[in-house]
């Protein structure tokens, strides 16, 4: 069975934010909730790198491990989804997630957050496929239609890849081989730093 993965090629990402916009628009994600975001490291300096980050659909997901009500599940495609009817909005998945993927509509006193929302890999949720309940709670279900996540499908530089992990890895491996490398990318100094 395929195991769905995202991969963002930092050499190709041009920080255009189209993936963010596409996601927000496709799923009608409320204000303040961001299923996907672009992070630029060393912004404004030579060598800056941008990466588009969302839920990475971990094989051993920390969010699922700490959830007090056990509302997460992994689909047969390896997509990590959650049930908003079970979610109590405790915030634990947000603390546990390395990527800050789980988001909430509110941040109020007494820990009132509302239901958690996160990237679904465009695969909807536990509701009936293409029902209005699924649409309002989790957004559209493109995977059911045989399509990949919109963010990756419409990435102009094909920096953001999504799909079967094996195929994504093959594409990336080919890129790396074709791209070659500078002499600084390998050897002792690259691995351990200078003067060591």
């Amino acid at each position: 069975m395929a195991r769905m993965k995202f991969l963002c090629d930092a050499e190709r990402c041009i920080e255009c934010q189209a993936c963010v916009t596409a996601c927000k628009n496709e799923h009608e994600v409320p204000w303040g909730v961001n299923r996907r975001r672009v992070i630029v490291m060393n912004d404004g300096k030579p060598g800056e790198k941008a990466v588009s980050v969302a839920c990475m659909h971990c094989t051993d997901a920390p969010c699922a491990a700490v959830c007090p009500v056990d509302c997460f599940y992994t689909t047969a495609d390896g997509i990590v989804l959650h049930d908003k009817d079970l979610c109590i909005g405790c915030g634990y998945c947000f603390y546990a997630c390395p990527f800050g993927a789980p988001q909430y509509p509110q941040q109020s006193a007494f820990g009132v957050r509302g239901k958690m929302d996160k990237c679904t890999f465009c695969a909807g949720g536990p509701e009936e496929v293409h029902s209005s309940a699924e649409l309002t709670k989790y957004g559209t279900n493109r995977v059911e239609e045989g399509k990949l996540p919109l963010c990756a499908e419409m990435c102009s530089t094909k920096a953001l890849l999504a799909g079967d992990g094996d195929i994504v890895a093959d594409i990336y491996r080919k890129r790396i081989i074709t791209r070659g490398g500078r002499p600084q990318t390998w050897g002792w100094e690259a691995a351990y730093g200078e003067g060591v």
């Binding site: 930092a10 303040g32 909730v33 060393n42 007090p68 603390y95 909430y104 009132v112 600084q184 990318t185």
Partner: protein, 366 residues
């Protein structure tokens, strides 16, 4: 004479050997650390990296290294939960603590405390009033103090049940009531916990302010501990208004654990304050849960001693008056004080209606 000189010599040799061994162990640890005095911290932990042509390293690997160490970048997305950090390392560590020792050791600790208390009760039984009830009572806790105690106690119990449900419910309650049943309860439990917590904190703070003066440790407590609080040996050590054990509960439980739980709880309860990063939240949750579990274990002991464990203790907190013989047995110095202050013990029969004696009148005669 001669044998004595030999003995001194032998003992000196032993001492010399022990000290040399000790010195060897200490030096074996200390000497290699001298390297840190010489080495520049920057050399050990990596130089400050600025981009320049002559020493250009691969920006890709630099970037991933920064990301792996949890450094932040720049993001245009906004929202209360959006962070500019690509990888937060705290998440996995917290997950290991929460699903590991916090639930396993924490759970077994609470069960062990309950088992030990049950065993203790099974073997020693209730601590009776040795002289029997005198039928005369003195005031131990005033009305507002009792209100404070029971308000705090009840909210403590509710907070403990809801808090433990959120930690252990997944393992204990979901198999029983199912996912949706537990989620419904957990939603309510979380809100009760979050809204009652601050009210409970006020109770704890008042307790600390009002009762600190009765709980200042003194020499009597040392003697009390030396005699094992009267539990071992059967002899009753002296105590003032609060005995050594109660002072440990006050300073260790209410004061120390209480303040730890309150501060970490407020950090968790008010994410809108905005300073709480995921790191702070994960730490607070760990500290909150671990301190609370220890406190609950402590509380089991307190509740046992105050109710089942000691005859005549509970009525001090329910109707506010205790039997004089109980007072003489458990808090002799306080009782002397009370009498010296001129309070006259009142017979059970003269107590007003509504403050019925905790025990049937027939028992008070023996």
């Amino acid at each position: 004479m001669r044998s004595q000189a030999q003995a001194t010599k032998a003992s000196r040799r032993w001492r010399a050997m022990l000290w040399s061994l000790f010195a060897i162990i200490i030096l074996a640890m200390a000497l290699p650390s001298i390297g840190y005095l010489v080495a520049d911290a920057a050399q050990v932990y990596g130089p400050e990296r600025e981009f320049s042509e002559e020493r250009a390293t691969n920006p890709r690997s630099e970037m991933w290294r920064d990301a792996r160490f949890g450094e932040g970048g720049f993001t245009t997305q906004t929202g209360p939960y959006v962070t500019n950090q690509m990888i937060a390392n705290i998440g996995e560590n917290w997950r290991q603590v929460r699903t590991g020792p916090m639930t396993t050791i924490g759970g077994w600790f609470l069960i062990a405390v309950l088992v030990l208390i049950s065993l203790f009760f099974a073997f020693t039984g209730r601590a009776r009033i040795e002289e029997g009830r005198s039928g005369m009572t003195v005031v131990r806790w005033k009305g507002y103090e009792r209100f404070l105690h029971w308000f705090t106690a009840l909210s403590f119990i509710v907070l403990a049940i809801t808090g433990l449900s959120l930690l252990f419910g997944r393992y204990v309650l979901i198999p029983v009531v199912g996912h949706s049943g537990f989620a419904g309860y957990a939603q309510g439990a979380m809100y009760v916990h979050n809204f009652l917590g601050p009210a409970f904190s006020v109770g704890v703070l008042f307790m600390i302010i009002l009762w600190a003066k009765d709980n200042i440790p003194n020499r009597t407590d040392l003697q009390w501990f030396k005699q094992g609080g009267g539990i071992v040996g059967g002899k009753h050590p002296s105590a003032g208004k609060m005995n050594g054990g109660e002072k440990v509960w006050f300073w260790g439980g209410v004061f120390t654990l209480g303040l730890i739980v309150i501060v970490s709880g407020f950090i968790l309860d008010f994410p809108n304050w905005g300073f709480q990063t995921r790191e702070i939240m994960a730490w607070s949750q760990s500290i909150h849960a671990i301190a609370a579990i220890i406190w609950i274990g402590f509380f089991f002991g307190h509740a046992y001693i105050g109710t089942l464990g000691t005859e005549g203790a509970l009525e001090g907190m329910t109707r506010g008056r205790v039997d004089t013989n109980w007072a003489k047995q458990h808090h002799d110095l306080w009782y002397e004080d009370v009498i010296a202050r001129g309070e006259r013990p009142v017979p059970e029969s003269e107590l007003e209606d509504g403050k019925a004696p905790a025990h049937p009148a027939g028992q008070s005669g023996h």
